[in-house]
């Protein structure tokens, strides 16, 4: 996939409008889930049928979406919009169970796998399983569901690429060569391999216990033949993720560590030839007017001890932070160019119901929030652009 032409000025609005799939990615704690929900809601407001797949949403967001007690299937979120908004919470295990049922030859094979304790471990704790199931659910909804737009909130992950690589990784895991070695006795290969395998198995059993190894071998025995289906599915998911109508939206907060992770992620996506189609920076500090922090600080110091001094100090501190944030943002904005950059100011409320979700939607899709100006990308460091939602 190549980058879009630069002569079209894109906005988050246009990116969402022209996409069938939106993937929100970024590190934990940056408002990714909320951003994903707002994007789906906005599409519903535009008359589309949209679904958001959330992963472990904060309680209040789940309440706002009416997600309490929901299963692994999308549920309608009632709201004042012409389209439809659906929301669901990803259940990793039942998604995996569905996949096993889909690819097993018969019910017996499925039951054998589903009741195996090694399988229970994989579906619950193998690293990357949650990422895999998120992309699996995305594929299912996008290809088989009747939606105009599927928005996915990716699991918080240190390794930002887990989401992209999880399907292939798990497929590879299920085809692991150690298990090939361990299960060769059943396949009648030469005795030398057999002996080596037995020795190794004893070694591993020494560390973790023999039961565990027995369960694992039983699992791979039962799984035999299904790994092909899994691998093919992983390739299909890959294809969907690299389609032009799939947009990656990078979500960040303006702190140096999350910015560093976002920068890393942008670089990794670029390496895979996938463009970041929009950058959303949540929780930005407003700078209140066009002055600098230095001027305000000097006045605060000169007036220390007076009420006016306090007022200047609060202004100076706001601006100092805003200046730092904008400086961090510049490099990242350059990295994702020509993707639009949306800055969302710290809001004086938390999303707790549909009203506050809609309020946030207005800010996120407000053209004023677009920071993709020469000021942001330029190197001469002009005055900071005010993030939208500035509560004045």
């Amino acid at each position: 996939m190549s980058r879009r032409p630069t002569d079209v000025d894109e906005s988050l609005e246009s990116v969402v409008a022209t996409s069938d799939v939106v993937i929100c990615c970024g590190s934990g704690g940056v408002g990714k889930t909320t951003t994903a929900a707002v994007i789906a809601m906005h599409a519903a407001q535009q008359g589309r049928r949209a679904v958001v797949v959330t992963i472990d949403p904060a309680r209040r967001l789940a309440d706002a979406l009416g997600l309490d007690g929901l299963t692994n299937e999308p549920a309608l979120v009632e709201g004042p919009w012409p389209g439809e908004m659906w929301a669901m919470m990803l259940d990793t295990k039942s998604t995996f169970d569905d996949l096993v049922r889909r690819y097993s030859a018969d019910d017996d094979q499925a039951d054998q796998i589903l009741s195996n304790s090694f399988y229970l471990n994989i579906s619950g704790s193998l690293s990357g399983t949650q990422e895999y199931m998120a992309s699996e659910k995305l594929y299912e909804l996008a290809v088989e569901g009747d939606f105009d737009l599927v928005v996915v909130d990716t699991p918080p992950t240190r390794n930002a690429l887990d989401f992209l690589e999880a399907p292939q990784r798990l497929a590879k895991f299920l085809d692991h060569r150690l298990y090939r070695v361990l299960t060769t006795p059943n396949r009648g290969i030469v005795k030398a391999v057999n002996v080596a395998a037995q020795t190794l198995m004893r070694s591993i059993a020494k560390v973790v216990g023999a039961d565990v190894i027995g369960d694992a071998i039983a699992f791979f025995g039962a799984f035999d033949g299904m790994e092909k289906g899994f691998a093919e599915r992983a390739t299909e998911v890959d294809r969907l993720l690299s389609e032009q109508s799939t947009a990656f939206v990078l979500v960040a907060s303006p702190h140096s560590d999350t910015m560093a992770e976002a920068t890393y992620f942008a670089g990794e996506l670029a390496r895979l030839d996938i463009a970041v189609r929009a950058l959303v920076v949540n929780r930005m500090q407003p700078s209140f007017g066009e002055g600098t922090s230095v001027g305000a600080r000097l006045r605060a110091e000169a007036l220390e001890g007076t009420e006016l001094g306090d007022l200047y100090r609060s202004l100076a501190e706001s601006r100092l932070l805003a200046e730092g944030e904008h400086q961090h943002l510049r490099g990242l904005a350059d990295d994702v160019a020509p993707a639009p950059v949306v800055g969302v100011a710290v809001q004086p409320f938390e999303v707790s119901d549909l009203d506050t979700l809609m309020q946030l939607g207005e800010v996120l899709f407000d053209p004023v929030s677009l920071l993709t100006s020469d000021t942001e990308r330029g190197s001469d460091g002009g005055p900071a652009v005010e993030p939208a939602g500035d509560p004045r």
Partner: protein, 339 residues
């Protein structure tokens, strides 16, 4: 409470909190604070990548210990209250290293005379496989390695930067799960020893970190109760990161305040000052609400760290945070004398 007593009350402090609340910064500040009262301190990072090294202007951490604060270096006075009468304090020193599951497994097998197996397992990529077969094994290997350092007595305090909050519970619960799942062998023994560590408040405490905002506070309260009930680990005070300092003059009208101060405001300045003050006042108010709610729902003392208006932390900011921690600790009640 005397800070030295606080920091040596257990040999291990596990720092846990939701992503985005500054867990790593608090880890660093705790280590600097402990070092500044003379404790030899080690920071352990369990997730390879972290911003910790940058805060100390150091190269990236690795399995080998790296000195971040030299032992014996003078403690820099922070703020204006450094008094001349006091003798110059010396740092106990801060070192840091990573302990990832792969590293921990190899180290463990080598220490137990199973070097040949360890090479074989690593070369076959079997670590991931084994850790899938036995969930929690990665965590137990990491905690086991930390326990080994604790037992060696090389440090007065180990500060462990735990995985993000949701994972912190499973991370710490892994020991009890494994004791049941793996009945014999070295992993069983290891899990049992880790369990002993976690259940002994004189050896290990968890310090939870939060931001004074609704969602992080909710998660913190849930995590605190889960940790107590399901893991049985002792909880230290909660560290609240990013508490805005209240400014007395925030509520005043800029024009009036200017007249009182005998100053002329420039055009448009009154609006900027008013907007900035209102914004801050609203946020301060929201923070106070959350802090009160947390105090009611969670009977743990709180240590407040100031909101710093910077995007990058470096040593001066860490010193400020460490100083706040020390102030907070001094304000804690004296521990009840042992019966």
């Amino acid at each position: 409470m005397d800070p030295e007593q606080f920091f040596t009350a257990s040999g291990v402090i596990i720092v846990a909190g939701k992503g985005g609340v500054g867990k790593t910064a608090v880890t660093a500040a705790l280590a600097v604070a402990a070092s500044s009262v003379g404790c030899r301190t080690l920071i352990v990072e369990v997730e390879g990548k972290s911003g910790l090294a940058a805060m100390f202007d150091s190269e990236q951490l690795s399995f080998d210990e790296l000195v971040l604060v030299e032992p014996g270096s003078p403690v820099e006075p922070v703020g204006l209250q450094g008094s001349e009468q006091e003798p110059v304090q010396m740092h106990g020193g801060v070192s840091a290293r990573t302990v990832t599951p792969d590293e921990a497994l190899v180290e463990y097998l080598r220490a137990h005379g199973m070097q040949r197996i360890s090479n074989r397992l690593v070369s076959l990529g079997a670590v991931e496989l084994i850790s899938t077969a036995v969930p929690g094994i990665r965590d137990i290997l990491v905690l086991g390695a930390v326990k080994a350092v604790e037992r060696s007595g090389s440090y007065d305090l180990i500060v462990l930067d735990a995985p993000a909050a949701g994972h912190a519970i499973s991370f710490l619960r892994s020991a009890s799960g494994l004791v049941d799942a793996v009945k014999v062998g070295p992993i069983h023994a290891q899990a049992k020893e880790v369990l002993d560590l976690l259940h002994d408040p004189t050896r290990c405490r968890v310090v939870l970190v939060t931001a004074p905002e609704e969602t992080p506070v909710n998660e913190l309260i849930e995590t605190a109760y889960s940790l107590e009930d399901e893991v049985g680990v002792a909880l230290g005070p909660v560290v609240v990161n990013g508490v805005l300092e209240s400014l007395a003059g925030l509520g005043s009208e800029p024009q009036v305040a200017a007249r009182d101060a005998g100053v002329q405001l420039l055009e448009g300045e009154a609006e900027m000052l008013r907007a900035a003050a209102e914004f801050r006042a609203v946020r301060t108010e929201l923070q106070l609400t959350q802090l009160d709610r947390m105090a009611q729902d969670l009977p743990l003392p709180q240590l407040h760290l100031p909101y710093l208006f910077v995007t990058d932390l470096s040593r001066p900011e860490l010193n400020t945070l460490a100083e706040s921690l020390l102030d907070g600790v001094r304000g804690l009640p004296e521990p009840r004398p042992a019966p």
